[in-house]
């Protein structure tokens, strides 16, 4: 099917303050890293055109303030999301412990139609720090948590070094796409619904 109509895939990045949400987004979209990012106030997003199986998509990646005090804003930013990325810092236990809060808060505020199957992706960021010596959350522990929440795909990343960022977002895009067919039905002249649905089975657990 041709890219007759470019589809928008909306992705929300959540996680504690300072885990690297803005950096991950910028690394993926602009392939840049800076130590000078300021704390995100409110929300912002970047977009990236991606191609998947002959179709073009616009990936809209939302970066939000990490402090829980601003969570009530989420209702404005989360709606219509196709995928939610939960980020923690492998060197900060608390940021991992909070993943569940972020996930639940998202489900409450975005209120997706099918919360059980809403696609999440978890990223353990900052694996580069101190050569991994300051790490406090093991990969095993993180994967176990992801498995317990309905096999959430998991990636270990370094936004600073660009490690695994591309792969992670590829998976994020695919998962966002999985969430899309529902909306595609509403497009009057979209006929390739079945084809779109087949993509669902192509998981991206890496």
């Amino acid at each position: 099917m041709s890219a007759r109509r470019r589809m928008l895939l909306k992705v929300i990045i959540l996680g504690d303050s300072g885990v690297g949400k803005t950096s991950l987004m910028n690394q993926y979209v602009n392939r840049k890293f800076s130590n000078q990012y300021k704390a995100t106030i409110g929300a912002d997003f970047l977009t990236k055109e991606i191609q998947f199986e002959d179709r073009l998509f616009t990936l809209q990646i939302w970066d939000t303030a990490g402090q829980e005090r601003f969570q009530s804003l989420g209702v404005a930013f989360y709606r219509g999301a196709d995928c939610c990325v939960l980020v923690y810092d492998v060197n900060v236990m608390k940021s991992f412990d909070n993943l569940n809060n972020w996930r639940e808060e998202f489900l409450i505020q975005a209120s997706p139609s099918d919360p059980e199957n809403f696609p999440f992706v978890v990223l353990g960021n900052k694996v580069d720090v101190d050569g991994g010596n300051s790490r406090v959350v093991s990969e095993k522990k993180a994967r176990a948590w992801c498995a317990s929440k309905g096999n959430i795909p998991y990636f270990e990343t370094s936004a600073k070094e660009g490690f695994n960022v591309e792969a992670a977002f590829e998976c994020i895009a695919k998962n966002a796409l999985k969430n899309e067919p529902d909306e595609e039905i509403y497009l009057p002249d979209t006929i390739d619904v079945a084809g779109g649905r087949q993509q669902r089975s192509s998981g991206c657990e890496c």
């Binding site: 704390a39 409110g42 997003f45 303030a65 402090q67």
Partner: protein, 688 residues
Amino acid sequence: MQEAELHDLSDDPDYVASQQQGSGGSENQKCTRKSNGPTEPNGSEVVYSKDNVAIHPTQYASERISGRLQLIKRDLSLFMTWIPYKQSASYGVGQGSRVKLPEKDRNLYTIRAVPLTDVRSIRRHTPTLGWQYIIMVLTSGLAFPPLYFYNGGVREFLATLKQHVFLVRSADDANVFLVNDLQDPLQRSLSSLELPRAVPVANVASSSSSLASVHSDDNSNQRSNADYHDSSFSPTESVGRHRQKVRDPARDLSIQVLEKFSLVTKFARETTSHLLRESQIFDNIGGYEKQQQVHSSPVKNQVGGDPVSQELQDKNQIISDPLEKIACRNGKLCEAAATLVGTFELIDSKEAEQQSLVWGKPRLPPLGHEEWATFLDEEGRIVDSKALRKRIFYGGVEHGLRKEVWKFLLGYNEFHSTYAEREFLETMKRSEYETIKHQWQSISPAQARRFAKFKERKSLIEKDVVRTDRSIPFYDGDENPNVGLLRDILLTFSFYNFDLGYCQGMSDLLSPILFVMEDESEAFWCFVSLMERLGPNFNRDQNGMHSQLLALSKLVEFLDSPLHCYLRQADCLNFFFCFRWILIQFKREFVYEKTMRLWEVLWTHYLSEHFHLYMCVAILKKHRKKIIEERMDFDTLLKFINELSCHITLEATLKDAEALCIIAGENKAACIPPGTPPSLPVEGGLLE
């Protein structure tokens, strides 16, 4: 020509000029061909003509402008014109120090063929002393300045009007006459400021009657006007020049200039704001922006503090032949209306950016040391704090003086305190600061392990200070001690106000304060004072933010209803796209120096405690055309707003905001409920 009946006009130069000129000075009235004859060559008929109807742009008698008011009928529609007499050359000499208005300025007031369908209401004033006058408010919300009938004749004017258009006395005010008061449910739903108990009537203009049922009031009238100019009628030469265009922009311009002056004149301001309450929304900002877009001559002769002469200069910059376009989409109601009004918008241009967009007072140079000294008495008291706040509101403060002045603006120092009292306070506060600071410094690592809240708070602050303004020399480089000071002050604050604690954005607010104070304790106490006002921004329930966003929404509704209408349609009325602006007082939107300038202006609370909200409206209004034309949805709008960062011209925006604040007038109370941050509790210090 009639003689003045009741009032001695011999001292009025305009009157005399008009006498000299006589009633048949068609040569001098280049703007109008309809000088004498009741029937115009092109088939229009003068149904009313009154000489010596004047406008008073300023309080100076020498600057009054006399002219001829006429009602002209063409087909089924009635038009009003007011053409100033050409100024006699013999005048302007020997008038004392005041010089008469230049011809160009006088002509700015010219009212060229306003269809009565564009008129919303007419307020009649018949003071026992002085001249009768009327104020006309247009459906667009714009108003003409008072038209003074030196020879009387207001009653006759209204009587003539009544023969041709539907005129009905307002139920609320016997001196207010509503013109062509449409009653269309759809249209009514578009306006939140409808006239109470208005009488239904069909639109007088046949050309617009078909549209009236579909479009908003404003829209239909504009359209009827547009349609009219698309056809053949051209009441004046100057209008005729534009006849190939969709409508007559020159007319709009003159209206806006007039409206500007109607606001400058205090009297008129009161009247128009009163009328506003029952009429529609003012829309002069956008209109003035358009003027800026079209004129290109910079201010010729800089004038200092005299607002009147500055205003005259402002007028000088206006010409009346802008390019005009109307992109009227067939979309939804709101959109069509908004697009039409959106034609009064600024097209981005560097030049326009640099100049003031409205009739806000001229910005002054920042307050310097010498002038500052004049505000202090021998013992260091600020004698007239209001004058000081006013001075700073209009110009800011030189950087070297900020350290001293900010403490007053923030309320850390009392205006009436003496040098000695302030010195004492500083000593006391320094020791108090150390005490609070010691509270967290004394927490041992072992204790911290059992103090999750503290650890969490500390780590949050540490994460933020290292990413706060690190490109500013004061904070740049590794191991910069000032970054450590930011951390210490914020941590101390989170113990000073443990309930509020630390929240992202606070480091942004503290950074310039520490930069200015260059002293830990002083910076801390100034920050404390600021947080007295802005603390609610960071409340857990976000109520402080929500109340400000709600107030902003109401202000936009009042000051820019087309935009509000569009935002409603686009489901953007939560105004979250302005969240960052409000949370940290535009800290991320301007470069460092400009942020400090803005803050000291905001902190004066001179015109309003909520001046930052008018800043928001001013910026949104400036970009309204783009927002609406590009049909921005929430996402796009948020992105657009975020990307305005460092592309906002501070001085022009301040002037716009000032104008909006004045326009809002008493209505601001209805838009901004008491207690909306940064309002202090009743016993607050800065307010009067």
